[in-house]
């Protein structure tokens, strides 16, 4: 699995209540990094890092 197709997959995210991992959608998880020193977000699927990105994809809906 690569990052690019994931960023283009329409998704609705739910809040987890965890500061460092604030959003989840099924087995997909978002980690917030030390932005701006690091990329804003990392996508994890099944606890495996898929990739980093800065800007929230327009087709992903935040809660």
């Amino acid at each position: 699995m690569t990052l690019e197709p994931c960023l283009n997959t329409p998704l609705s995210w739910a809040r987890t209540g965890q500061g460092e991992f604030p959003y989840a959608a099924g087995n997909w998880l978002i980690r917030i990094n030390d932005f701006p020193a690091e990329p804003m977000y990392t996508l994890l699927v099944d606890n495996r890092e898929i990739g980093d990105f800065d800007d929230w994809p327009p087709c992903w809906i935040k809660p």
Binding site: P22, P36, P39, M40, D54, W56
Partner: protein
């Protein structure tokens, strides 16, 4: 000549960060990736400034304070640039959970962290100066600041 030019860039960056040039006063970055590029540019000035401070005979602790102040101000200014304030709130919640401070680690926390690593004397402060200028180079080289643009 090259050093003088580099120093002038560093000095302008320091002035912009220190005196809070507003987003309206300059070409403000619009996206998070642009904001990260802006931030990387700000902190990249620190090594040249540090060399100037060393030449002036400023002690390591004071230089570390200055470097940390520049990095911290750039961090806050970068967050100020962010158009989506929900993302700023998410970052603050993350920093609160991780550091106990919504704006990231304080100078005192960094000193303690370095002492916990076994550093002593000026090495504690030199590490703060080096890390203040450190961007996530590995990630920047791997993905760039616009990973989606550079993916195959």
């Amino acid at each position: 000549m090259r050093f003088a030019s580099r120093f002038m860039v560093a000095l302008l960056a320091l002035l912009a960060v220190s005196f809070g040039v507003s987003a309206a006063d300059m070409s403000a970055p619009q996206t998070n990736s642009q904001i990260r590029d802006w931030y990387n540019e700000q902190v990249s000035a620190i090594p040249a400034l540090n060399q100037h401070w060393i030449a002036e005979g400023i002690p390591a602790e004071q230089r570390a304070h200055r470097a940390h102040d520049i990095r911290h101000a750039a961090r806050l200014k970068a967050r100020d640039f962010m158009p989506d304030k929900r993302e700023v709130a998410d970052l603050q919640a993350r920093d609160q959970a991780k550091y106990g401070n919504p704006d990231g680690p304080t100078f005192g926390m960094l000193v303690q962290k370095n002492r916990d690593k076994g550093l002593v004397g000026d090495a504690v402060y030199d590490e703060i100066i080096v890390s203040a200028a450190c961007t996530d180079r590995a990630t920047n080289e791997k993905y760039g600041s616009k990973p989606a643009d550079k993916s195959p």
